[in-house]
């Protein structure tokens, strides 16, 4: 793992991996969107509104996956002091927040026709909103820590681990508590969703995962470039 402690090695990898993921993600995600809107059938109960699932569910999973990645990066930061861990956390925060926001917005738009309400304060919706706020807080905290300089990246890392408590809460909220949101359709090895819906949903999930990964890699490159530029400016100022 410490092979990538050298940013140059990471950058060489990111240089070709980021555009590859971006292309793959754009192709798969847009294909799945078109499939979901024009090809996939309407649901017996929900009718046409089911089509929002191809955007809602991948963004929900990736919103939760993003914080899981932040928690792992935070652990790596705290224990191994890996130089890229804090950068990865910062790179994930913004796309994570955007995906959580898309999940909340699409869910709300679906809730109006299906449930008869835009929003309710049940366990699932509330914990997902908390996740969105956690992302914003992490981004603000990491940015403040960066401006404070060396050694302060531990505070966002601790926050990243503490915030991970919310991830199982989101997942189990529909099982522990009575909620308006339905329980998961897809659990380990089985699905209560007909294949006509499931296949485009999985394609969409792979596509959006590629897009998420591409954005994170691009943001990590940008943050590293930023740091290099700052270091160079500092050296110039010292020399002058």
């Amino acid at each position: 793992m410490h092979g990538f402690a050298n940013p140059a090695r990471f950058l060489r990898l990111a240089q070709w991996l980021a555009p590859l993921l971006l292309t793959l993600g754009l192709v798969l995600a847009s294909a799945a969107m078109a499939w979901g809107v024009f090809v996939a059938p309407a649901d017996a109960l929900q009718g046409e509104t089911v089509r929002i699932v191809y955007l809602h569910v991948p963004t929900a999973w990736l919103g939760m996956g993003g914080w899981t990645a932040i928690a792992l990066a935070s652990l790596t930061e705290l224990v191994w002091r890996h130089p890229l861990a804090g950068i990865a956390g910062r790179a994930i925060a913004i796309p994570g927040a955007i995906f959580a926001a898309i999940c909340l917005a699409t869910g709300s738009i679906w809730g109006r026709p299906a449930w008869g309400t835009w929003w309710v304060w049940d366990g699932r919706l509330t914990s997902m909103l908390v996740l969105f706020f956690l992302y914003l807080a992490y981004a603000a905290l990491a940015d403040a820590a960066r401006r404070d300089g060396e050694g302060s990246s531990r505070i966002p890392a601790i926050f990243g681990i503490v915030g991970a408590v919310n991830i199982p809460v989101i997942h189990y909220s529909v099982l522990w508590w009575n909620s308006l949101h339905q329980p998961p359709s897809i659990t380990m090895g089985q699905s209560a969703m007909a294949a006509e819906f499931l296949v485009p949903l999985l394609v969409s999930t792979v596509g959006f995962s590629c897009l998420f990964g591409a954005v994170v890699l691009m943001r990590m490159r940008a943050i590293l470039a930023d740091q290099q530029a700052e270091a160079r400016l500092r050296r110039k100022a010292m020399a002058a």
């Binding site: 059938p41 309407a42 649901d43 017996a44 109960l45 929900q46 009718g47 089911v50 699932v53 652990l75 705290l78 224990v79 191994w80 026709p113 299906a114 449930w115 008869g116 309400t117 309710v120 304060w121 049940d122 366990g123 681990i161 503490v162 408590v165 809460v169 909220s173 522990w176 508590w177 009575n178 909620s179 308006l180 339905q182 329980p183 998961p184 359709s185 089985q190 699905s191 209560a192 969703m193 007909a194 294949a195 006509e196 819906f197 499931l198």
Partner: protein, 151 residues
Amino acid sequence: MSAIKAKHQRLILVLIALVALIGAALLAIYALRNQASYFYLPADIAAKPPEPGRAIRLGGMVEGGSLRTDADGVTIHFIVGDGKNRVPVTFKGIVPDLFKEGSGVVAEGKMSPDKTFVADNLLAKHDEKYVPREMKDMTEAQARAAVKETR
């Protein structure tokens, strides 16, 4: 202290913190287990009847064959059940699209003294099953079998 040792020390500290954190979270969730539910099931109403007039939410399945509409066309009566207990519900207004017999519902309102639930808002609860419209004309059992086959 060597570098390896410091690394292990940090790992142990983080693991202890994680155990404490998970313990705290479990305690909090345990304390919330009743408060965080979005609605009462008919069983909860039977076990601990809420005082009439207090605003609560009742959730469960709309019993098949229980739905009837009054002569005014907007007042409906139905029974919400959870398999064991049943609560009769009255509602006046427009129901959501997904509201129908045999599917889930969350009713907001209050218990009246005569043990019926007077709802002033209905929310339809969708279940985890997704079935294409083409299968709609099958019976529910057939549709479920078809879904199972595609797994």
